[in-house]
Point group: C3
């Protein structure tokens, strides 16, 4: 692929020889001849001057600092992503059903689809054109897998789940497990049947060992373009709005509805029955306990500190109510407020 | 099924025609003719008046407000659960061993059990009547799976694990992996063999991708009626008491013993070697660092807030010890306590 | 095995008859005749006097209190680990490829390796001497599994991953899934191809359902002797230094580099692009948001308390900034600082 072709295809201005050939991508510092690199995060700007890449994708403002050919574009990271996909395409899907796969007689598998070793497909399920079901995947009954979706390996999709086109599902993912619903009855639990399904939109990506429960009565819904990282938990009846991203180890409890284009940091959890509007960001490890009706950024978690210092703050945290009462006593009665000894009790109390 | 039959079977008073037929369950707002719905959470009471359900299961206090037939019962949610199970029974277990399964010569599989595609069963293991081992499950040696237990798909049960009757185990669950035991020796780690097993009681449900480690020497124990949600971690030597529920992403570290009928919120973690008595509830995302000897509710986590506001609180948290010292100085010496400048240092410090 | 042989082999002083035979390990309180136990944690010292073990491995300082034979050593836990491994060796690896396994024509599997039922091995992969690939494991193309490594069951190792010798990988582990990389473009996400690999060193142990993503361009690296517990998340481009341990449900976000011999507590998460030096310990459930350049212990999390008390502290936490301002007003202007009513506003505010 020549730089000229890349510039044309992705709308870049090219500083350099349009006939130069590149064949792979690399980091600024790891690149050698033939590699295209990129500069998106200005934090790494310092690495530009020593790069040995053949060309760098970057913004106008870094153009003058680039010692090699540059492909100038207003969104270098997205452009890099497209160039990388062109130079490093995923393996072709090899059509055919592996002889060790078990496919129900009334399942419909497109001829262009790939069904890998030891895959099981249940009754009345439909697998679309060029879809890939990787080794060891288990597909229940009445499932629909859309065209060009790829289940990499060992994915489980249980009865009645519908998945759109061009999804990427990583190993160990479970879609359609029962929601956690039990009714208390005299000190024990009666299982509440989980008879809803799961609807997954188009262009959804789901990370390794993530779990998505089926709805209690209606469906759990993951809308188009959602990206879920590894070890994410989506409980029954949750709806995740289009183009929302959820980083690793985050989760949403039952019936919570998350808006569109939200950004959920790693380890964030939301309690049940919340409504989160569109365009909300939750920072790393937040605990969300209330609905959010206004777009914006919400936090937080308390960052780790040197342990001695942390212990002092944590001990004071336990005294917070007493500290506030002592402050109030001073405000109300002057320093004499201490005469009743509340101050000292407060101090001894942690 | 007629309303009269349901009322008889589940001890409800019926307001309406006992011969009316219903065939499925639905939500109050999603129901149509032929559907039974329920009202358990008074929060949803407002949906009652517009429901198009054929009948609603509810408490005496909502009886007068129900525009359609009602099945009146003191525990409508548990009654709903039983009605739903009756109208939407799980698929029958089809007896037989799939030709792609690998069963050790000396394993004993009941004739009424179902062993799915690509299941492997190790030496001397026993699978009870009507048990179901879903596709891709792996059963080690000397395992016992009790009657009517269902491993939905891709469950791993390693050597020496015992499971009772009527359990439901969701895909991706791992039972009997080695506990995390290593002895430090000159800057490296010596593996401590994990030679205990795991004992799972009757009527246990375990959610997708949950992990339960085997004991170091003796057994990890999950007692009868326990319900674990998805992505839960149970470490070696833990005991979870009967009818305790643990929500998604919660966990217990090594040798902790959790009492009976506890309710562990999502994301709660307990450190090792704790004793938690019966009837304890931990709210969402708590970190449990001490044994609990008194039933009751324990928390907590700090809820997310608008990021600016959170940052101010978090910065003050880091100053807490200094703030407390400044307060104490005022209490001790009056406003003059500030003359030594401690106050300003405190303020500048975050 | 006689006590004399054990003493010789592991450098212990023996108090007792060197010809006495032992055949298993047990806890101090669970032991009977023929069992070796150990005392490593002085907390359990009280159990020594009633033990019915045949011998106990312990330190010099407990020697005089031991009512039975003792094996005296400066590191009784590590010595116990070695004795336990000797008396309870893992099952032998039975060489051979199970007839239900699918092995690519150009894969190289050592004759002494064991490939279990329903395993799939991709093109050009290499499986070393005495390695074990447990039932249902999926190995991609161009993978290397070192000698004596054991993938217990249902492990997924995707294309291009390299694993050293003597590793132990528990069920459900996924190595080499795509990192979570997407470029934002006009409200949607463009996938950034993840073309790096994963390098796993020697003597690494990885717990059940843990996930390790491949690098974006270069490799994610797990160095020699690392031990990861269950449900751990390692993001793309992370490096975990030699002999570091990470307890269950911990994780490191993209490109973070963790030093050697670190101890990461359960549920600890680190944000992306951090540098953690060698010999750092993070306590249970910490949130690490800054690089650490000095060895030592860092925390923390706030421990759960009785819910009423917690709620009071949490409410005060929300008022912290106002409390600090009220304190400052007093410091600055005396009790009169309250005359503007700031104090009462502060109090009403939570």
């Amino acid at each position: 692929m020549t730089l000229g072709e890349l510039a044309d295809r992705y709308g870049c201005e090219l500083d350099g020889d349009s006939g130069t050939v590149v064949d792979r991508v690399a980091t600024l510092s790891g690149a050698g001849a033939g590699a295209v690199s990129f500069l998106a995060n200005p934090h790494f700007r310092g690495r530009l001057k020593d790069t040995r890449a053949t060309a760098v994708i970057l913004e106008e403002r870094h153009r003058a600092d680039c010692p090699v050919a540059s492909l100038v574009n207003s969104n270098p990271y997205a452009t890099y992503a497209r160039v990388a996909a062109l130079l490093h395409p995923p393996r072709d899907v090899e059509p055919g059903v592996h002889p060790t796969a078990t496919v129900a007689a009334d399942a419909l598998v497109a001829e262009s689809a790939c069904v890998g070793p030891n895959v099981a497909i249940g009754a009345a399920s439909i697998v679309g054109e060029r879809a890939m079901l990787g080794a060891g995947s288990v597909i229940g009954g009445n499932v629909r897998i859309g065209a060009d979706s790829r289940l990499l390996a060992r994915v489980t999709v249980l009865d009645g789940v519908t998945m759109g086109v061009r999804c990427v599902i990583h190993p160990g993912v479970v879609i359609g497990s029962d929601g956690f619903g039990f009714a208390e009855d005299e000190g024990a639990w009666v299982k509440v049947p989980q008879i809803g399904g799961v609807t997954i939109g188009d262009d959804v990506e789901i990370g390794a060992n993530t779990t998505i429960d089926r709805g209690t009565i209606e469906n759990t819904v993951i809308e188009d373009g959602v990206k879920l990282d590894n070890l994410v938990q989506i409980a029954h009846n949750v709806r995740v709005g289009a183009h929302t991203v959820m980083a690793a180890m985050s989760g949403a409890a039952g019936s919570t509805r998350i808006g569109r284009r939200c950004k959920v940091g790693g380890g964030v959890v939301m309690i049940n029955h919340l409504e989160i509007c569109d365009d909300v960001m939750f920072t790393f490890r937040s605990v969300v306990t209330k609905s959010v009706r206004k777009p914006g950024t919400y936090g937080g978690s308390l960052p780790a500190e040197e342990a001695q210092r942390w212990r002092r703050s944590a001990a004071r945290f336990r005294q917070l109510d007493a500290l506030a009462e002592r402050l109030r006593a001073i405000e109300r009665t002057g320093i004499g407020g201490r005469a009743d000894g509340e101050g000292s009790r407060g101090r001894d109390n942690g």
